[in-house]
Symmetry: C2
């Protein structure tokens, strides 16, 4: 069965997009069929995956608000064979407010996705193995749609002090969704990002998170590494931009640990 994972954290700049595109690329390189859905109006994931998201491109907004099929929106990612992406354009910026008054507003992504899974199997002869949904830094109706569509939540946590502050709110929101909208949903994974082993702050925050969340925290941290942040300027993930670099190797390792967890989930 296809594993649908929402990557969420309302704290900004913690590595949601970077984690979505690099986990996806690492798993696709291993031969798995992967889809990334970009629900952030800034379209950073679409940029890193080199998928057109200029104004007017059919995108996640067309699916959520105009009832277009995902099959008309999803693109193959150049250079990475098994990787697909549903892009986000600037139109999505209006979606939060436009969704407020639509019928079944929390279920629109889930319904559209269920329809696409069938289409993908018929077209490519294989099921999608993983779907990663990249969220904007807020807990509005776009993130809500992603939480309803997924079975798992993956939370990237930057090893910085402010990163700890919003976690309670995020967990509460996930629990609300599980109780009222999507009983399958659970926080399955936490990944520590931009870890700088030279600073006490990074060590302290990492320790705090492991103490508090236990086994769901992936053992390998993602180091702060400039090649990771350079890659999107070349419309690439760090996996293809500099596969031997510390950042790429850490994402490959975390992708393996993440995939193995599924075996026992």
């Amino acid at each position: 069965a296809t594993r649908v994972i929402t990557i969420a954290n309302q704290k900004g700049g913690v590595g949601k997009t970077t984690t979505a595109v690099n986990l996806a690329a690492a798993l696709a390189k291993h031969g798995l069929q992967i889809l990334v859905i970009d629900t952030d109006p800034q379209g950073n994931a679409s940029t890193a995956l080199n998928v057109d998201h200029r104004v007017g491109t059919p995108d996640v907004y067309s699916v959520l608000i105009e009832d277009q099929d995902f099959s008309e929106v999803i693109r193959q990612v150049p250079e990475i064979e098994n990787l697909f992406c549903a892009p986000a354009t600037i139109d999505l910026a209006g979606a939060e407010i436009e969704l407020v008054s639509l019928v079944a507003r929390e279920y629109r992504l889930q319904k559209a996705l269920a329809k696409y899974l069938e289409f993908h199997k018929n077209k490519y002869g294989k099921n999608l193995d993983y779907i990663f949904i990249d969220c904007p830094p807020s807990l509005g109706l776009l993130t809500l749609n992603a939480l309803v569509a997924a079975q798992e939540v993956l939370i990237p946590i930057q090893t910085e002090y402010y990163a700890l502050e919003g976690l309670g709110q995020l967990m509460n929101n996930v629990n609300l969704v599980t109780k009222q909208l999507n009983p399958e949903l659970k926080v399955s994974t936490i990944i520590l990002t931009m870890f700088d082993s030279r600073t006490n702050l990074s060590q302290q925050v990492a320790q705090e998170v492991r103490k508090h969340f236990g086994d769901i925290v992936i053992p390998t941290e993602i180091p702060r590494a400039v090649r990771v942040s350079e890659a999107p300027s070349f419309q690439q993930t760090v996996i293809t931009y500099d596969p031997g670099s510390p950042g790429a190797q850490a994402y490959v390792k975390v992708a393996k640990e993440f995939a193995l967890r599924h075996a026992s989930v």
Copy 2:
């Protein structure tokens, strides 16, 4: 007259809060009367300024949605005499959706602020010199309220590739507000944050921003410096936590350059 500045950028984690609290602290230390308004439900600015923002504390939500006066919400910041803060609590998370159906929904902050200025002058015998409004990483009704209440927008730009992507959207939104809601509003200042002089990426992004935006970019960059990110874990700004550190000195310098610009505005 009081200078009201909104610190906005829908890209997450670019240093909005860090810039708001450190500029405010630096200017307050020079004897100016400063107010920070925290409109981010995570309340990071309230944390850095050591102002209580537990559930139930009167906050910006009470002002925007329950018509409470700012005079019952604003607190003096401990340790920094001339600095005040209107805190944000978790209640603010519901404000974006609740504001959608309220009358004069874009003007609620502006109206409440106008009333408070009078109160502050009567109580403390001095006008507020600067008001900084810290925004969440989105362009919803909270940021919209902040843009309507202000005369200036200060945009922190992290020297990273993704930071360039959302700028067009931000500028468009500011122009819309200027045309339709607040004719005085203009982007007065850009500050480059988390600058790492050792990386090409930082240099390139800084160069690109200066080329594109010219004089409104403050000459001094804020360096990436761990003491800056440690300070909030001690409920402090870096200005009081480690005044001699490179991060604190950079914010003091930028605060001076920022204040001097006003003389000619």
